[in-house]
């Protein structure tokens, strides 16, 4: 095991068995397929999957799916304390684009047995959603609607997101565009002012870390693009040769090899706000690079 102790979080880089990983979220098929092709040809795994103490995948669902699909024995991970304050759980709201009024969405919800109720303002929607943990919200401009489903349809957070996924599929069938936006965006005045008449935001149910752990342990999988984990620090550019993780060696041996491999590298720390390989990182970074 190779450890990096940050101010608030301990990053434990180690190798574990692929079959010990617990996913909590589904994958987007075309993203997964592309990644399978890439991993078949790639020689290295750039970044380890981030997992909790129980090997629940917090970041890297697609990489996990690919490692399982391609029958790897082992996988390098970065293990963290999920319940640390430095790990926040956010979720993704859905933005429906190119829609004319609430009509099509309301019709779909009603057909699926959902109950729609107008609420007076944003604060009221927030309050109602706190009272009804598996309810959704619909926002169009300054108009807010609470959406609830009967307990027989939705009785946990995974079920709520499953229903949402079905609504989403029906909207896509109607040629409407779906995009994902961080849940905090709706508190940003610029975002709300910038909303077009043809855009509707679906507020997704709030999720807690306990729900993620519970779902993963019960092998209940959330719909793709449900959770968004903000982890205060992460390792980057580990670049481990992936063929190692197919070898018929013991876990101890491959883990020791991986540790030695990391020890031979240099690490540079960066504060939040850097862009690496086309991605903006809000977190502290520990970038591995070759010793010259």
């Amino acid at each position: 095991m190779f450890c990096i102790q940050t101010e608030t979080l301990k990053l434990r880089l180690q190798v574990i068995r692929v079959d010990s990983l617990l996913e909590h979220e589904g994958v987007i098929p075309h993203v997964a397929d592309k990644l399978i092709l890439e991993f078949k040809n790639w020689a290295i795994l750039e970044n380890p999957v981030i997992v909790d103490e129980n090997n629940i995948v917090l970041d890297g669902n697609h990489r996990t799916y690919v490692f399982k699909k391609l029958r790897f024995r082992y996988i390098p991970v970065c293990k963290i304390d999920y319940f640390s304050k430095s790990v926040s759980l956010r979720y993704w709201f859905r933005m429906v684009g190119g829609i004319r009024g609430l009509g099509p969405l309301m019709q779909i919800v009603e057909e699926m047995g959902g109950n729609l109720r107008k609420v007076s303002n944003k604060e009221s929607l927030v309050k109602r959603m706190e009272e009804n943990r598996f309810a959704c919200g619909i926002q169009q401009g300054d108009s807010y609607t609470l959406v609830r489903f009967h307990e027989e349809v939705v009785n946990d957070a995974v079920g709520a997101y499953e229903v949402l996924e079905k609504i989403q599929d029906k909207l896509i069938q109607k040629d409407l565009r779906i995009s994902y936006i961080p849940c905090q965006s709706i508190h940003d005045s610029d975002f709300c002012n910038g909303l077009k008449d043809s855009e509707i935001v679906i507020w997704t149910p709030q999720i807690a870390k306990e729900m993620v752990v519970d779902a993963a342990k019960r092998k209940r999988i959330f719909a793709p693009k449900t959770t968004r984990h903000l982890i205060a620090a992460r390792p980057l550019n580990v670049n481990a040769p992936i063929h190692w993780f197919k070898e018929d060696v013991s876990l101890e041996e491959i883990d020791a090899r991986f540790s030695r491999f990391l020890q031979e590298k240099e690490i540079r720390r960066f504060g939040p706000g850097q862009v690496i390989d086309g991605r903006y990182y809000e977190e502290e970074l520990f970038v591995f690079y070759e010793r010259r």
């Binding site: 504060g271 706000g273 850097q274 390989d277 903006y280 502290e284 070759e290 010259r292």
Partner: protein, 411 residues
């Protein structure tokens, strides 16, 4: 004793028609000639070709060969000029001694004459010359060979080259032209990354000054005892120095200030075109990440490093910067890291900055271009004096057809 080679040079010009190259080269092949050098051009319906052919393997006499080649004149309507040489009279091919000089700026009479006179003074041979852009905007690329360069009594070959480069930079500055001088082998090396020093190349000077001024005003208000530095030469350093004085300010207010920062005209288009050509883009800034984030969001850069102000849980600036602090002096370390991450060599990097930013970068960069440097003595390969940063594209050795294609596509 080895036999001297029979070298025949052939230059020809005339109206273009299909099959000209085939007719000439087939005849050469029939006479057992080996083409050792060739340059063919076709411009505005006119065809020209230069060939150096080794006829050592041919049993024919030089007179017979030239007569046979001349016969093609009748058949094609081309005008031929033929000459014979032996190999000792010719300059050996040595890429080590070849440089590519790119000159660009608004067109004016006398550019080629003055530059070629300077080369003549140093006994430098112009081996090739081509226009990349014509019209109001002028861009020309010259391949020069310095193997017979005059060094003078006290200078080494390298010192003489540096002296010539400095003179050429001064001459071009005098004519309001930008100039880039690169070794041909490095010029030909496939470049992978273009690195921009953000403050000195992409951000408008006036907007950066306004931004720094605002920060100064605010930091005075936040800390009445503070005496902000008055060094205008390195605005980014002023930002870093004043960070502690921003303590207590909401980060949102600070981010609003950064809205005054504006990009130089063409900067965004340049990045987009470079990306569409397959280059990776790295942005290095000793300023703050809020502005870098905006550039990143609109340009899609591959790497962007800058400084981040620490904020507390309420979004209030603590006055501290996240370590490590990126300064003009530490940008080279970040660049080395990027080179390592991309697994490329430094000569595959193009760096664009002002003179001082470039002077701190590793010495073996593929190409360094100083954008509007304070003085022309910078050790950069090129000095770009124009306002339109997008014209840097003309210095990268991209074929004109390729360049036109991307420029047409740009918004």
């Amino acid at each position: 004793m080895s036999q001297r080679k029979k070298i025949v040079s052939l230059s020809t010009i005339g109206l273009d028609s299909p099959g000209l190259v085939s007719k000439i080269t087939t005849k050469i092949f029939e006479m057992k000639g080996n083409i050792t050098d060739v340059e063919e051009n076709c411009r505005r319906g006119l065809f020209s070709i230069f060939l150096a052919v080794d006829f050592s393997a041919s049993k024919r006499s030089v007179d017979e060969i030239t007569r046979s080649l001349k016969a093609i004149e009748m058949e094609t309507g081309l005008k031929f000029i033929l000459g014979t040489f032996d190999e000792h009279g010719m300059t050996p091919v040595s890429e080590d001694e070849n440089y590519v000089v790119t000159i660009l700026g608004l067109d004016r009479p006398g550019i080629i004459a003055r530059v070629s006179t300077l080369f003549h003074k140093y006994h430098i041979n112009i081996e090739n010359c081509r226009m990349i852009a014509r019209g109001k905007f002028f861009s020309m690329e010259m391949a020069i060979n310095i193997c017979k360069m005059m060094t003078g009594p006290y200078l080494s070959h390298d010192e003489a080259m540096e002296k010539m480069k400095a003179e050429l930079k001064d001459l071009c500055a005098e004519m309001n032209q930008s100039v880039v001088i690169q070794k041909e082998d490095t010029f030909k090396r496939l470049k992978k990354i273009v690195v921009f020093d953000v403050e000195s190349t992409l951000v408008q000077d006036s907007s950066l000054r306004d931004f720094v001024e605002k920060i100064r005003e605010v930091s005075k208000l936040m800390d009445s005892e503070a005496k902000p530095k008055d060094d205008r030469k390195d605005e980014a350093q002023v930002l870093i120095d004043n960070a502690p004085k921003l303590k207590g300010m909401p980060i949102r207010d600070f981010e609003k200030f950064s809205e005054t920062l504006a990009l130089n005209p063409g900067a965004l288009e340049l990045i987009q075109i470079l990306k569409s050509m397959g280059f990776k883009i790295a942005l290095l800034s000793a300023g703050f990440d809020c502005f870098m984030k905006k550039i990143f969001e609109v340009s899609g850069a591959d790497y962007a490093f800058s400084n981040t102000l620490k904020v507390d849980e309420n979004g209030i600036i603590t006055g501290e910067l996240e370590e490590p602090i990126l300064t003009s002096a530490t940008k080279n370390e970040i660049l080395e890291l990027i080179i390592g991450m991309e697994n490329i060599s430094p000569d595959q990097v193009i760096a664009v900055g002002d003179g001082s930013a470039l002077s701190r970068l590793p010495k073996d960069m593929g190409l360094t271009i100083a954008f509007r440097p304070g003085d022309t003595t910078t050790r950069a390969d090129g000095i770009f004096s124009g306002d339109q940063i997008i014209n840097i594209l003309y210095c990268l050795g991209i074929p004109k057809t390729e360049l036109d294609k991307h420029l047409k596509r740009s918004p």
